[in-house]
């Protein structure tokens, strides 16, 4: 990847995201791949609040933030207005939100957008926790993770729920293009965004974006952990066209154990200290193994 003057990106510096934020890295490359003929509908969340402090903005494309749960429906409205103006073939519509917006509070409106078949690229930046409100569990939080609403203690070893399968939910809506990737895989992000935009109808890209304070990781680890999540099978990097899997990023021959990924996160630290952790680590390893089998990642 060639060096680019930061101000040449369509998402400019000057924002207030944490150093090393995985979401901002991913969002910058998503938007560069979309190009300047793009209108963004953004959910409430870190991406919104760190980039748009009135009267400043980091966005060099038209951008609107309405509410937490509605970027999908706002994007539908934008798309309809573009149609009325005869501009819908010339302008991309990008809706984006975090995992709280996508998996939880906004999922009904996303379902509506997909059912209507609206020509919108929806990107979910998944930090696996409500980052902006201080790290509470979301529907995307992995099993056993420590969050501010899932405290490891006498009665708990962290989040008791299992992460929702958003890819399956998208595929059940017959979304023509469905893909997953991580902020450790910049070229993959760009390729998938470009591929998505060439397809008429709804598109869903799910990007795992490490959250430095929410995960309790070093601020130079967002890229590395994005890669390691893929290599362990913890986060499968796959791609579907019209319901058929068209690509799956293989794990290495010697697949790293899930502990190799988890040991970098404070949110999983208790699993290595608590006597109950061993059993839980096996559950998480099983999730990785099942992913590898399900998506044929070996």
């Amino acid at each position: 990847m060639k060096y680019k003057n930061p101000f040449e990106h369509l998402l400019n510096p000057g924002h207030t995201a944490c150093p090393g934020c995985g979401q901002l890295i991913a969002a910058r490359h998503v938007l560069d791949a979309c190009g300047p003929n793009t209108i963004i509908a953004n959910a409430t969340g870190c991406l919104e609040v760190t980039t748009s402090k009135h009267p400043t903005s980091s966005w060099r494309v038209p951008w609107i933030h309405s509410l937490f749960e509605n970027p999908s429906a706002v994007a539908t409205g934008i798309e309809a207005a573009l149609k009325a103006k005869g501009l819908d073939k010339k302008v991309n519509v990008l809706a984006q939100g975090g995992d709280g917006s996508t998996f939880d509070i906004g999922i009904g409106l996303i379902s509506g957008m997909w059912e209507r078949g609206d020509n919108i690229l929806y990107v979910c930046y998944d930090t696996e926790v409500y980052s902006n409100t201080g790290y509470q569990s979301s529907g995307a939080t992995p099993h056993d993770a420590f969050t501010r609403t899932a405290w490891p203690g006498k009665q708990s070893v962290g989040n008791i729920k299992f992460k929702k399968d958003m890819l399956a939910i998208a595929l059940a809506h017959k979304v023509p293009y469905v893909a997953a990737t991580t902020s450790g895989l910049i070229e993959d992000i760009k390729r998938k965004v470009k591929k998505a935009l060439a397809i008429q109808g709804p598109k869903f890209i799910h990007i795992l974006t490490p959250c430095v304070p929410g995960w309790g990781i070093e601020d130079n680890m967002a890229i590395e952990l994005g890669k390691l999540a893929q290599k362990t099978g913890f986060f499968p990097v796959v791609e579907f066209l019209n319901g058929e899997m068209i690509s799956n990023m293989k794990v290495p021959q010697a697949v790293p154990k899930v502990e190799e990924y988890l040991k970098h996160h404070i949110r999983f630290k208790h699993l290595f200290k608590d006597p109950r952790g061993k059993e839980q680590l096996q559950i998480l390893q099983n999730i990785c193994d099942e992913n590898i089998k399900k998506y044929n990642l070996k």
């Binding site: 966005w59 038209p62 509410l67 429906a73 539908t76 409205g77 207005a81 149609k83 103006k85 209507r116």
Partner: protein, 372 residues
């Protein structure tokens, strides 16, 4: 309703069905499907989505329309506040209906009145002709003030009642309401990228809200002005100055104040009472937000007894407009203002009930009285 909406030429319509609004949006969908209208019609999966869709479309610079009622309006509430803050000229029809629980599909005004603080202009029609005319006016006001506008029509009493109305054709409407040209820097345009809906910290938020407050208040002047313009083009106008209408108030000893279709019943009752020599008048509120303080105070200045006839309540206080009225009259009017609540959940409001209120208004009871 659908006919007038079509003639107002929205580019994007989105809605979710709810009684008693359904036939409006059914007919709009039919017009689009049969090719007699060329707007985009989007079936939303909830009122929340419908409001968000017209928000997105309006922010992209086109004229939009949606309609809802009751639970639907309450579900939209978060979006409605947001639309006003974004200064988008969205127009909505609220077919006024009671709010659950108990669930009830019939008319009162609890739905719209409850969201009075959202920053929308709220206009109420007495008859279907007024409702037609208010829609034309609503778009004119919304687009000139960059404020959203809600036209209210009582569920069933107006929505399911046949009345002869004049529906102006598109050519005539264009003389009053030309094609919508959005403000250049306030819309989503790839040739002029802007960020809308940015977040405001404590050092900025208050001024932005104050500006919205002042602009909603200042809308009173624009309503009066546009009501006059309306008359020039269409040969009729809303009663009074467009904010309020006075009916036999000049010499009235008792003035009732009301809003919406119940005003028709009150006028009939007044005519009967006048035959018996009772000096009763009606002050009809057309614009609930902004609230016409000066007009109301002036109209009530000579009355000895004032009765507010509400179709909504603020639980824990009194009829909602009664509080507004008392605020408006504070320090200006000595006559007592009594709060009456009628017609909740579609209870018929009869002339006998209005007569009863006219009797009670002179009584000593200062508490909210339910008449039904």
């Amino acid at each position: 309703m659908a006919e007038i909406v079509k003639n107002l030429r929205p580019a994007v319509v989105s809605a979710y069905p709810i009684t008693p609004q359904t036939h409006i949006v059914e007919d709009l969908a039919k017009m689009r499907d049969e090719g007699s209208a060329d707007f985009e019609y989007i079936n939303a999966e909830s009122e929340f989505a419908a409001a968000s869709i017209v928000l997105g479309a309006s922010a992209t610079g086109v004229r939009t329309y949606t309609s809802t009622s009751s639970q639907g309006l309450l579900l939209m509430a978060e979006v409605l506040f947001n639309i006003a803050g974004l200064r988008l000229p969205v127009v909505i029809t609220c077919t006024n209906r009671a709010v659950s629980s108990p669930i009830n599909i019939w008319n009162d005004q609890q739905d719209a009145v409850t969201i009075r603080d959202a920053g929308w202009l709220q206009l109420y029609g007495e008859t279907n002709q007024e409702v037609v005319d208010l829609h034309i006016l609503a778009y004119k006001l919304a687009e000139s003030l960059l404020l959203p506008a809600m036209v209210n029509m009582d569920g069933f009493v107006l929505t399911h009642t046949y009345e002869p109305v004049v529906i102006p054709d598109q050519d005539l409407i264009k003389k009053f309401l030309p094609a919508y040209v959005p403000a250049k820097d306030l819309i989503l345009d790839v040739n002029n990228p802007r960020s809308l809906g940015t977040f405001a910290a404590p050092d900025k938020y208050m001024e932005i809200r104050q500006e919205l407050f002042e602009d909603v208040l200042a809308a009173k002047k624009e309503i009066i002005k546009q009501n006059t313009e309306f008359k020039k083009v269409f040969g009729r106008s809303l009663g009074g100055n467009g904010l309020v209408e006075e009916y036999k108030t000049k010499d009235a000893e008792i003035i009732l104040v009301a809003m919406g279709s119940v005003c028709g019943t009150i006028k009939e009752t007044i005519d009967q009472l006048r035959l018996k020599g009772k000096k009763v008048g009606l002050l009809k509120i057309i614009s609930f937000r902004p609230f016409p303080d000066e007009e109301v105070a002036a109209s009530l200045s000579k009355a000895k007894y004032i009765g507010m006839v509400d179709k909504s309540i603020s639980l824990g206080t009194e009829g909602i407009l009664a509080s507004d009225l008392k605020r408006t009259c504070y320090g200006k009017i000595k006559a007592p203002i009594k709060s009456f609540v009628v017609g909740l959940g579609g209870r018929d409001v009869t002339e006998a009930m209005i007569e009863k209120i006219v009797g009670l208004v002179k009584g000593k009871n200062d508490e909210t009285q339910f008449v039904g």
